[in-house]
């Protein structure tokens, strides 16, 4: 039993001296994830804007084709109507999917196609937060150091929450039959 205890004393354990390193890592990875998320957020905005424009243009075309159908020959009229109608339904359906909170798949695909690293980054930061939080609760004795650690962890957590909000992590566990 004793030798077993001695072994683990020196193996994979976090010691009080690790505090500064932990804080530095939290800062570094929070900043990295924040940057990635900002990038993804911007991409999503661009995609949404693009889809909105298509929806509006095709809606206008639709209305135009209906209002001025007497000035066109019937095949042109039919063609414009069909194309604009299809574009309108396709773009509004995609928009609907993007805004639907239950539908994280669409968003995830976009995010994946943009960046595979982001998931890994969030995963690592989450782990880091777990370690730091354990450190806060179990290792750190000095009150002022705890305060600093608490602030750094909170910052990291708000970035993680930001990440969750972008990829649409379900906010509740639904009871499924």
């Amino acid at each position: 039993m004793d030798s077993f205890q001695d072994d683990i004393k020196y193996e994979n354990r976090i010691v009080p001296e690790d505090r500064d390193k932990l804080i530095a890592l939290l800062e570094e990875y929070s900043a990295k994830l924040q940057k990635k998320c900002d990038y993804i957020d911007r991409s999503l905005i661009i995609i949404k804007t693009f889809l909105f424009s298509i929806a509006i243009i095709s809606a206008v075309a639709c209305v135009y084709a209906i209002a001025y159908h007497k000035r066109m020959d019937s095949s042109t009229h039919f063609f414009i109507l069909m194309v604009s109608f299809l574009a309108l339904s396709a773009s509004s359906m995609s928009l609907f999917h993007l805004y639907d909170d239950d539908n994280e798949l669409e968003r995830k695909n976009i995010i994946n196609s943009h960046n595979h690293e982001t998931h890994a980054l969030a995963h690592r930061l989450n782990k880091l937060v777990g370690i730091a939080s354990g450190f806060y609760e179990h290792v750190e004795k000095k009150e002022i150091s705890k305060i600093e650690l608490d602030l750094k962890i909170s910052e990291a957590e708000s970035v993680l929450n930001y990440y969750d909000s972008i990829i649409g992590k379900p906010k509740s566990y639904s009871y499924k039959k």
């Binding site: 004393k9 354990r13 179990h138 009871y175």
Partner: protein
């Protein structure tokens, strides 16, 4: 507080099957809790089993999911989607998260919850990532047993302090019918000391605080009961996986089933 004789021997059933067998009563629960916002709130220190309980009540009972300790970052909400109204909310238990507790306290004093569950585990609070030798309570040369003794002692004090904190909004709460349960979890770890555990909760500082709540709230629309079970049978390990206390040799799955069913029954009875 708990069953130590087994009437129904249900060998061969997994916890998954047991929870599913108990589902009808829980569905009744959900129906009775219709027509409002959050209805059940689960308090308790970090690592006592709140999330595990929430998952079980919400019907997610895959043991492999239950065994993993993920520290909860924000208040968890388990929605009963089909019924629209039954909601379990669980503010995270870590000391750092007191702001989320305050939000839940406000809802408690507004009388939003019909059932308030306080989860305690006789000080066996799980922790993540950290070896027990890194814990500030550990001192050079200590044995595992010595560490566990002072660690759980400190956690038991934490449980009492937290009960005192939640007692304030419960005392001030609007007079809506409320059931408060103290769930003493992790039987599998402390089963051999069950007499001491019973005494600790029902005959000392913890119970004094409960009695204070009872005398302030009155018994017309408020009641408190002790219930106890193992949510999973796993023993007690440190954040880096060192075994700290093994499963009690006289504890068994049938005992867990009998006690878990009892917990579900208590909740169900209140909903009749």
């Amino acid at each position: 507080m708990f069953k130590d004789t087994i009437e129904v021997v249900s060998t061969g059933l997994s916890i998954y099957e047991l929870v599913n067998k108990s589902r009808p009563s829980l569905q009744r629960l959900v129906k009775r809790l219709r027509g409002g916002e959050a209805k059940i709130v689960v308090f308790g220190a970090g690592g006592t089993g709140k999330t595990t309980l929430g998952k079980m009540l919400a019907g997610e009972s895959d043991p492999s999911i239950l065994a993993d300790y993920e520290e909860s970052r924000t208040t968890e909400k388990f929605n009963f989607k089909r019924e629209q109204s039954g909601i379990i909310i669980i503010p995270p238990g870590q000391g750092r998260r007191d702001d989320e507790w305050l939000a839940a306290f406000r809802q408690v004093s507004d009388g939003k919850f019909r059932i308030i569950i306080n989860v305690v585990s006789y000080g066996y609070h799980s922790f993540r990532e950290i070896s027990y030798v890194s814990d500030k309570l550990y001192q050079q040369g200590m044995t595992v047993e010595e560490f566990v003794e002072i660690y759980t002692e400190k956690c038991r004090q934490k449980e009492i302090n937290q009960l005192k904190e939640i007692s304030t909004p419960i005392k001030m709460s609007k007079a809506v019918p409320t059931l408060m349960l103290t769930l003493v979890s992790k039987q599998d770890i402390w089963w051999q000391d069950r007499d001491v555990v019973t005494k600790h909760y029902s005959d000392s500082e913890y119970n004094n605080t409960i009695q204070e709540i009872l005398s302030t709230r009155g018994t017309a629309n408020f009641s408190h009961e002790y219930v106890s079970t193992s949510l999973i049978i796993n023993g007690f390990t440190s954040g880096t996986g060192e075994p700290l206390k093994s499963i009690a040799s006289d504890y068994s799955q049938p005992l867990q089933f009998a006690n878990l069913a009892e917990v579900f029954k208590k909740i169900d009875e209140f909903c009749q």
